[in-house]
C-alpha cells in the first residue's frame, strides 16, 4: 500500500535563503507525525507548500497517490488536506459559527446543513458558548480552537496543525491534547508542528526533526529525544526540549 502523503525532495527558496531543503518523508494513514525543529527551521513553510498556499521551488508532493504540488490551496483542501495557521486567520466580522460554516460549505451547498455542521465542530473544540460571538471578539486561545474547527468542518483526511498548543497554560494543553488524540481515533491523520514538547511527544507516533530546512533526524519520540544531532540543533533551547 502506498503512503497517504509522499513528499520527495521538497525545497523552497526565498531569494538566497533556502527555507526548506530537499525534504523527503512519508505519512501513512492513521499516523500522528510530529514535525519539530528550532524557530525558523522551515516548518510553517513546509505546511504552506503541502497545503498549496506556497509553490515549492522543487520537489513533489503526492496525496493519496495523486500529485498535488502546484495545485491551488482550495483544490488541495477539497481533496481532503486541511491546515490550521500558526498566526490565526479568522474571518473577523462574522460569528464563530459563520467562520466554521465557510469550511463546511466544501461538502454542502445548503446554509442549514453547513450551520449544523459548524455547530457540531464548535462543540467538538469546546467553543459552543461562543458560537454567536464575532470572531474579532474572541481571545487568542478561542481563535486557536476556531482554527481547528474551521479546518475540521472541511472533513479532512489529513490535518496539518501548526502550533495549536503554543501559548496555552498547562491545563489548556491537556485539553488540546485530548482533542487532537480524539481526532486521531476518529481516523484523521495529523502532522503536528509544535514547540511544546510535552504535546508533540505525547501525541506523535513518529517525529521528523528539521533544522535550517533540512531533515536531521527521524524516529519515535524517544529516539529523537536521545539523538545528539537533535540536541545540538536545539542548543540554547535546551530548556524547551527537556
Amino acid at each position: 500500500m502506498t503512503a497517504m502523503l509522499e513528499v520527495r525532495g521538497l525545497t523552497r527558496r526565498f531569494g538566497g535563503l533556502v527555507a526548506v531543503n530537499d525534504l523527503t518523508f512519508e505519512v501513512n494513514e492513521g499516523e500522528m507525525i510530529g514535525l519539530i525543529g528550532p524557530n525558523g527551521s522551515g516548518k510553517t513553510t513546509t505546511f504552506s507548500m503541502l497545503s498549496g498556499a506556497l509553490r515549492p521551488s522543487s520537489g513533489t508532493i503526492a496525496f493519496n497517490g495523486e500529485r498535488i504540488e502546484g495545485l491551488k490551496a482550495n483544490k488541495v483542501c477539497r481533496k481532503g488536506l486541511a491546515r490550521t495557521f500558526q498566526v490565526v486567520q479568522p474571518f473577523p466580522d462574522i460569528t464563530a459559527t459563520e467562520n466554521v460554516m465557510i469550511g463546511a460549505f466544501v461538502n454542502t451547498g445548503g446554509g442549514r446543513q453547513a450551520e449544523a455542521k459548524a455547530r457540531e465542530e464548535l462543540e467538538r473544540v469546546g467553543l459552543t458558548p461562543k458560537a454567536d460571538t464575532l470572531a474579532k471578539e474572541l481571545t487568542l486561545l478561542q481563535l486557536k480552537r476556531l482554527e481547528i474547527a474551521k479546518a475540521l468542518a472541511t472533513e479532512p483526511k489529513l490535518l496539518l496543525l501548526d502550533e495549536v498548543a503554543a501559548g496555552l497554560t498547562s491545563t489548556e494543553v491537556d485539553v488540546m491534547l485530548k482533542l487532537v488524540r480524539q481526532l486521531n481515533t476518529e481516523g484523521i491523520t495529523c502532522i503536528i508542528v509544535e514547540h511544546v514538547m510535552r504535546f508533540v511527544m505525547n501525541l506523535s507516533h513518529r517525529c521528523i526533526v528539521i533544522d535550517f530546512g533540512s531533515q536531521i533526524a527521524e524516529g519515535t519520540p524517544e529516539e529523537v529525544l536521545n539523538n545528539p544531532a537533535v540536541h545540538a540543533a536545539y542548543l540554547g533551547e535546551e530548556a524547551s526540549i527537556a
Binding site: 498556499a53 483544490k75 486567520q89 474571518f91 462574522i94 459563520e98 460549505f105 442549514r112
Partner: protein, 335 residues
C-alpha cells in the same frame, strides 16, 4: 427569528411603497423614481463591493453597457427594449466575466482594483463619445412610443415607479436568498480573509469573478431602466466616474454588505443630492461630487459599517444590556 421574516418584510414594505403615488406630487414622484433606480444600482454594486469587499469604482461601465445597448437596439433596429434587456444582460455578463478574469487572476486588490475599474469606465466614456453610431458625445435620444409595457414606456411617472419597486423588491429578495447560500458566504470569506478562504476550499478567483458578473449584470439592468425612464443616454450620464461613485456611495453610507443598506442610503441621499443640484448646481458646478466626497469621508470616520451597521450595533448593545451578564461569563475559556 423566523427565517421567512426578512422576505415578508421586503414584500410588505414594497407593497406599502406602492401607495406613494396617491400622495406624492409629480416632482416628488420623479425623485422617488430616481431613488428606486439608484437603490437598485447600489444593491447591485453591494454584491461585489459590499459582500465580496472588492471596491469597484467603475460599475458605471455596466450601467452604461445596459443603457447604451437598449438605446441603440431600440433606435437602430426598432426592437422592443425587452430584447435590448436580454442583449444587455449578455453583453454585461461577458464584459464583467472578462474583466473579472483578467483582474482577479492577476490578483489585483484594493486600490489597484479600484484604479483599474475607474480607468475602464472612463475609457468607455471616451470610446462611446467617439462613435457616431452611438450618438458621439451628445448621446442618444430615444423616441417616445406611447404608454405600453411592451415598449417599457409609460405616460407619467407611475408606470416607472411601479417598475422600479418591482426591481428593488426583486434585488432585495435575491440578496436575502443568497445570504443563506454558499455563494455569499464565500464572498464574505473572500472579503474577510482571502488566505483563510482559500485554505477552507474557497476558489477565491472564481468567487470574485462570479460576484463581478452578478453585480455587472444587475447594474446593466439598472442601466436599461435608467435609459427607459429618461429616454436619453449620454456618455457621462451612464458611464463615467460620477455615476460610478453615485452607485457605490449609497451602499457605503447605507451599510456595506447588508441587505437594506443600499436602499437606506439611496432614500436618504438621492433627494438630498437632487435638491442641492437644483439649488447649487448652476452657480457652483461640481457641488454634487463635493457633497458625495464629504458624505463618504464622514461615513467612513463615524460609521464604517454605514447606517445599517450602526443600527445593528445599537441593537446589540441594547440586547446585551437586557441580557443577564451570566450568559457572557460562561465563555469558551472555562474548559
Amino acid at each position: 427569528m423566523n427565517l421567512k421574516m426578512p422576505y415578508i418584510r421586503i414584500v410588505v414594505i414594497g407593497a406599502l411603497i406602492c401607495l406613494l403615488p396617491l400622495v406624492l406630487s409629480t416632482f416628488y414622484m420623479h425623485i422617488a423614481v430616481l431613488v428606486l433606480i439608484w437603490a437598485f444600482l447600489a444593491c447591485a454594486w453591494n454584491i461585489i463591493g459590499g459582500y465580496a469587499g472588492q471596491h469597484s469604482l467603475g460599475n458605471g461601465l455596466y450601467m452604461g453597457i445596459g443603457a447604451y445597448t437598449v438605446a441603440y437596439l431600440v433606435n437602430r433596429f426598432n426592437l422592443t427594449p425587452w430584447v435590448g434587456l436580454v442583449v444587455a444582460i449578455i453583453l454585461s455578463a461577458a464584459a464583467a466575466a472578462f474583466i473579472g478574469w483578467i483582474v482577479f487572476r492577476y490578483a489585483l486588490k484594493g486600490a489597484y482594483f479600484a484604479l483599474v475599474t475607474i480607468a475602464l469606465t472612463e475609457a468607455a466614456v471616451y470610446v462611446v463619445s467617439n462613435i457616431p453610431a452611438l450618438g458621439g458625445a451628445g448621446g442618444m435620444q430615444m423616441e417616445y412610443r406611447g404608454n405600453s409595457l411592451a415598449y417599457m414606456q409609460f405616460a407619467g411617472q407611475n408606470g416607472y415607479f411601479y417598475m422600479g419597486v418591482v426591481l428593488v423588491v426583486f434585488i432585495l429578495l435575491l440578496t436575502q436568498w443568497y445570504k443563506r447560500k454558499r455563494f455569499f458566504y464565500q464572498l464574505i470569506a473572500v472579503r474577510e480573509n482571502e488566505d483563510a478562504a482559500e485554505a477552507l476550499g474557497v476558489d477565491t478567483v472564481k468567487a470574485k469573478i462570479k460576484a463581478n458578473v452578478m453585480s455587472g449584470v444587475l447594474c446593466a439592468v439598472g442601466g436599461v431602466f435608467y435609459a427607459q425612464y429618461f429616454l436619453y443616454v449620454g456618455p457621462r450620464s451612464v458611464f463615467g466616474e460620477v455615476v460610478s461613485v453615485q452607485i457605490l456611495i449609497y451602499a457605503i453610507v447605507g451599510g456595506l454588505g447588508t441587505t437594506w443598506g443600499p436602499v437606506v442610503g439611496a432614500v436618504l441621499l438621492v433627494p438630498l443630492s437632487e435638491i442641492t443640484r437644483g439649488q447649487l448646481g448652476n452657480s457652483f458646478p461640481g457641488s454634487q461630487l463635493l457633497l458625495y466626497g464629504l458624505v463618504m469621508v464622514l461615513t467612513m470616520m463615524f460609521m464604517p459599517f454605514g447606517i445599517m451597521g450602526l443600527a445593528d450595533r445599537l441593537r446589540q448593545r441594547w440586547q446585551h444590556r437586557s441580557a443577564t451578564p451570566l450568559v457572557d461569563s460562561q465563555g469558551g475559556e472555562a474548559s
